[in-house]
């Protein structure tokens, strides 16, 4: 009978239907739908195959191949154990890339989460205009990282960029953003935050919208001002959303290649050469692919750590919706 269901071409539609689904309703299962041994595997098979091939296999491949190395570029690879990792963590270029990535991620988190909080609180009070304003908020989500980088390159241009023109208006001499190492990092952080902010705002806004108005009213009756209500009532209540937004922001910034590569290319003087740039150059410029896979594994491990935080948070607060 199961083989019949597996080969629907051999039987007419009606007989197939009778065989597989026209069963009398049983006591233990009160539904007629969803009883088959083979059909669910047929339906989900392609998706499971594609995800295994394109997401799961690459990870295993990366772990496996990161223990090999070619002595000559493009030559035969041989097993070297953990040597790639040992070399990686002894490589000052990689260590300083890790360092810069940490600065980059923390910079993005501080700027991004503060902006997201302010914007989400304001949107929550926007009332009738909420839908329109929220629609504007998510526009950067639709802009590719490279296009965003081009926009910010134009904005931060030392000669004609609107940022320096605005500074000039206030009597400040605008700096050369992309030839000063620390300022290049600042500009990169701002561009990255711009592309990743919509999700954080929406997450925090979603949290704010679930707060019972009565709680805020009670605080008002007790004499709490707006700021007090935000700090002592709203923010503690949206801790889970805040945590999730933080983790999501970290994912995006930790693995950002397009924005940084198109904005600064890692320069000036390697000032914005983060781990993703280091990975790109090792793999596709220096063509040391097996060594690059060791970097991939390090990035995947960091990501797994973030995922662990994420699952812990969402399980503890049982986030649904």
């Amino acid at each position: 009978m199961t083989s019949m269901r597996a080969k629907p071409n051999q039987v007419s539609r009606r007989s197939l239907l009778r065989r597989s689904f026209m069963r009398p309703p049983t006591e233990d299962r009160n539904s007629l739908i969803g009883h088959s041994r083979v059909i669910p595997y047929l339906l989900s098979g392609p998706a499971i195959f594609m995800v295994s091939l394109l997401l799961a296999f690459p990870v295993l491949y990366a772990i496996w191949q990161s223990t090999y190395r070619a002595e000559v570029i493009g030559g035969e690879t041989e097993f070297v154990g953990l040597q790639n990792y040992i070399d990686l963590f002894g490589d000052p270029a990689f260590l300083s890339a890790m360092n810069r990535t940490a600065i980059f991620v923390f910079g993005c988190l501080i700027l991004g989460i503060s902006l997201a909080l302010v914007f989400a609180f304001a949107l929550n009070k926007a009332g009738r205009r909420l839908r329109f304003l929220r629609g504007i908020t998510i526009v950067p989500y639709l802009v590719s990282g490279v296009a965003a980088a081009v926009m910010f390159r134009l904005m931060f241009n030392a000669e004609f960029g609107q940022v320096n023109r605005t500074l000039e208006f206030f009597g400040i001499d605008g700096p050369e953003w992309f030839s000063t190492p620390s300022l290049a990092m600042v500009a990169t952080i701002i561009a990255q935050v711009w592309t990743d902010l919509p999700l954080a705002v929406l997450l925090i806004l979603g949290g704010l919208q679930t707060i019972e108005p009565s709680l805020l009213d009670a605080a008002s009756v007790d004499g709490a001002t707006g700021w007090h209500r935000a700090w002592y009532v709203s923010i503690p209540l949206i801790t889970p959303q805040l945590a999730i937004a933080t983790v999501w922001f970290s994912y995006g910034t930790l693995t950002s290649l397009g924005v940084v590569l198109a904005l600064t290319g890692g320069g000036p003087m390697d000032a914005t050469r983060t781990v993703p740039i280091h990975l790109y150059e090792t793999a596709f410029v220096e063509l040391r692919r097996n060594e690059a896979l060791a970097i991939v594994v390090v990035i995947l491990a960091l990501n797994a750590l973030l995922t662990l935080i994420y699952t812990t948070v969402s399980r503890r607060y049982d986030l649904r919706s």
Partner: protein, 300 residues
Amino acid sequence: MTTHADDTIQTSSPVPPRATGGLRRRLLKILKRLPVWIPLALLMGWTILPILITLSISFKIPGEVYSAPQLIPANPTLDAFREILARQGFKGAFVNSVVVGLGTAILTLLVAVPAAYAFARFRFRGRHLLLLFTLLPRLIPSLGLMVPLYRLAVALGALDNRLTLVVVFTGTILPLAVWLLVGFFQQIPRELEEAANVDGTNLWLRIRYIVLPLAVPALITIGVLAFREAWNEFNLVLALTRTAGNRTLPYELWLLQDSVGFANNPGMAAFAIMTLIPFIFIYLRIERYVVGGITAGSTK
């Protein structure tokens, strides 16, 4: 307006005019709303200004960018757009982006709908994989896939091929798509399908005529998210394409940025603006789907 208010005051009461009181109250109200309005104005500026400034530069000629840097161009011109449209690199990449974007959206739906139906309706051993589906895209960013998928594509002889891009992008968006659809399918009452079942309808017809019509919003959401993913993806295009004929827009924009340097700022601006075109056209229609999709996809 004020004279009208004066009239009513004179007729209603002889006490000192209350117009100033009303004004003060209105001012106070505005002042009270300032903590909301200022951040909202900031939000608008933060989001829109980079796009507006780029748009402004795209309407100038290269020299004008330096000599007349004001936001509103004195002599707006479409030269930069014409120049970019005439570039072979742009045309090819635009067509590729559209083809790959639509291909990804269609393939994602074709693969995700049956899988999600299976996860939503059947009890089977593979069901626990659903949890994996929710975690995989977070565990594995496209950055981590660049080198392994490059190697895989070389081994399969699939490097530098638009179909490869479609399949790979589908793979990266599938977990999210399946996850969103499962949630949606579970909300469709089983009773509807049971009734159709009693009337003698098979699985395919039930999906076709009961489940899918009810799931149209979810299907649009997933189509849009898949299209966006393919349209904006940079890392994997960088890793998997070699020749201009197979690149999509972000890669081509990056190359342009690398090659023209400072000379053709309006050209770059125009290119960046044109990568937004599909979203500008359909944005108002899809906005709520996008909002729903990205929030649902991230909390859980």
